[in-house]
C-alpha cells in the first residue's frame, strides 16, 4: 500500500483529534470547541457517519474539519476513515474520542503526553484508574470486567478499561489501524490485544468520562452480539500475524 502525504512529512509533531459522529448535533459543537480550547495546536476532524441531522454543519461552525461518509458505515469504519486521513496528511499523533460528550476534552492532553514522550504507542484512557468514579450499569460493568480480565491475561498487563474509545496513538499505530481487518464495529479489547501482539506498547492513562445520556450503541440485542463477536475476535487474534512494529 502506498500512502501519499498531501501535506508536510512525518516528524513535524502534528496532532489530529478524530471524532466519529452519528447524529450528535446537540453535543458535537461543544465537544469540538472544548477540544480546540484544550489543545489549540491540534486539528479536529469530525467523521459524519451519514448523519440525518445538522452534525456536520455544527461541527464545521465550531471549527472542525468534516469528512462526510456517503453511507452509514458504523463506528469502526468511521474511525478508520479518520486514520486514513491522518496517514495521508502526515499527522504524527492521533487522538480518538466520542462526539457525545462522554469524554472530557481536558484529558486529551494527558493522553497525548504519553505518546509524544515516547513512553507508549497507545495511550488508553481509563475511567476506572485512580478512583475516578464512573457508574456503569451492572451488566455493562460485568462485561467490562470480563473483557478487562481477558485483555489483561492476553497481553500480560493490567487493563482496567478495555472498552474505552478515548485513546491516543503514535503514527505507527495509525498505520496499523488503516490496514484491512480493522473491525467495522466495536474496536475494543480485540484491537488492544492485536496491538500488543504486534509489538506496540499500551499504557493506561486516567481520564474523566461521563455517563452517556440518550441512545447507546450497546442497546437492544447488541450486547449479545458484542460478547459473541468480541470473544471470537479475541480468540482468532492469536492465530493472526504478529510483530508488525518490528517489521516496520
Amino acid at each position: 500500500m502506498t500512502v501519499a502525504c498531501t501535506h508536510g512529512s512525518p516528524g513535524e509533531d502534528r496532532i489530529l483529534v478524530i471524532i466519529p459522529a452519528h447524529n450528535e448535533e446537540e453535543t458535537i459543537g461543544d465537544v469540538v470547541a472544548r477540544v480546540k480550547e484544550s489543545v489549540p495546536v491540534a486539528d479536529v476532524l469530525v467523521i459524519d457517519d451519514y448523519c440525518s441531522d445538522a452534525t456536520a454543519r455544527v461541527a464545521r461552525e465550531a471549527g472542525a474539519r468534516v469528512i462526510a461518509l456517503p453511507l452509514h458505515l458504523g463506528y469502526g469504519t468511521a474511525l478508520q476513515t479518520g486514520f486514513k486521513y491522518a496517514l495521508e496528511r502526515c499527522y504524527d499523533y492521533v487522538v480518538q474520542m466520542d462526539g457525545d460528550g462522554q469524554h472530557e476534552p481536558r484529558c486529551v492532553s494527558d493522553l497525548l503526553a504519553e505518546v509524544r514522550s515516547g513512553a507508549a504507542d497507545v495511550a488508553l484512557g481509563s475511567r476506572f484508574l485512580r478512583g475516578r468514579s464512573y457508574k456503569a450499569q451492572f451488566v455493562r460493568r460485568l462485561g467490562m470486567m470480563l473483557f478487562g480480565f481477558l485483555t489483561s491475561a492476553a497481553i500480560r498487563q493490567r487493563i482496567t478499561d478495555p472498552t474505552s474509545g478515548f485513546q491516543a496513538f503514535s503514527r505507527q499505530v495509525v498505520e496499523f489501524h488503516t490496514r484491512d481487518g480493522y473491525p467495522i464495529d466495536f474496536p475494543d479489547a480485540d484491537v488492544l490485544i492485536s496491538l500488543s501482539l504486534n509489538g506496540f506498547r499500551i499504557k493506561e492513562v486516567p481520564v474523566i468520562m461521563y455517563q452517556k445520556v440518550g441512545k447507546s450503541m450497546h442497546g437492544g440485542l447488541r450486547p449479545f452480539y458484542y460478547v459473541f463477536k468480541m470473544l471470537l475476535s479475541i480468540f482468532l487474534t492469536f492465530f493472526r500475524e504478529r510483530g508488525y512494529k518490528a517489521r516496520r
Binding site: T2, V3, V66, L69, P70, T77, Q80, T178, R247
Partner: protein, 130 residues
C-alpha cells in the same frame, strides 16, 4: 433406479450443466462461481448414467437408501454454495467500505480546494506493508 428415473436425472443434470454454461457465455456468472454448479451438474449426470456408483457410495457411507445419499450431497452442495457466497459478500463489503472511505476523503479534499482552504501538497510518499 428405473429407466424413467434415469431419464429424469439425465435431463435435470444436462439441463443444469447447459444452463450454467450459457450463464457463463452471457457473462451473467463468472467462471470462478460456476465451478461448484458445473461440478454438481456433472455429478448428477454421472450418477444418472452410472447407478452402481451411487450404490457403492451409499454402501461406503453406510446409507441404506441411495436417494438419501443424493439428498445428503444436495445439502452439502447448498452449504458450500452459501459459504462461497458469504465469503464473496464479505470481500465485496470490504471493497465497498474502502471505496466509500476513499470517496469521502477525496470529497472533503476537493471541497477544501474549491473553497481555497487547501493547497496541493508536496507529494511526500511512503510505502506501507500490506
Amino acid at each position: 433406479m428405473n429407466l424413467r428415473q434415469q431419464v429424469m436425472a439425465l435431463i435435470i443434470g444436462a439441463g443444469l450443466f447447459l444452463m450454467i454454461l450459457d450463464l457463463v457465455r452471457r457473462r451473467r456468472l463468472d467462471e470462478r462461481s460456476s465451478c461448484l454448479w458445473l461440478l454438481t451438474g456433472l455429478g448428477i449426470l454421472v450418477l444418472a448414467v452410472w447407478y452402481d456408483l451411487l450404490l457403492s457410495i451409499s454402501t461406503l457411507m453406510g446409507i441404506t437408501l441411495p436417494t438419501s445419499t443424493v439428498f445428503f450431497f444436495g445439502v452439502v452442495f447448498l452449504m458450500a454454495v452459501s459459504l462461497q457466497q458469504a465469503t464473496k459478500i464479505s470481500k465485496l463489503a470490504d471493497q465497498v467500505k474502502n471505496l466509500t472511505q476513499k470517496i469521502a476523503i477525496m470529497d472533503s479534499y476537493i471541497k477544501d480546494l474549491t473553497q481555497g482552504k487547501e493547497e496541493v501538497g508536496d507529494g511526500y510518499t511512503e510505502t506501507l506493508e500490506d
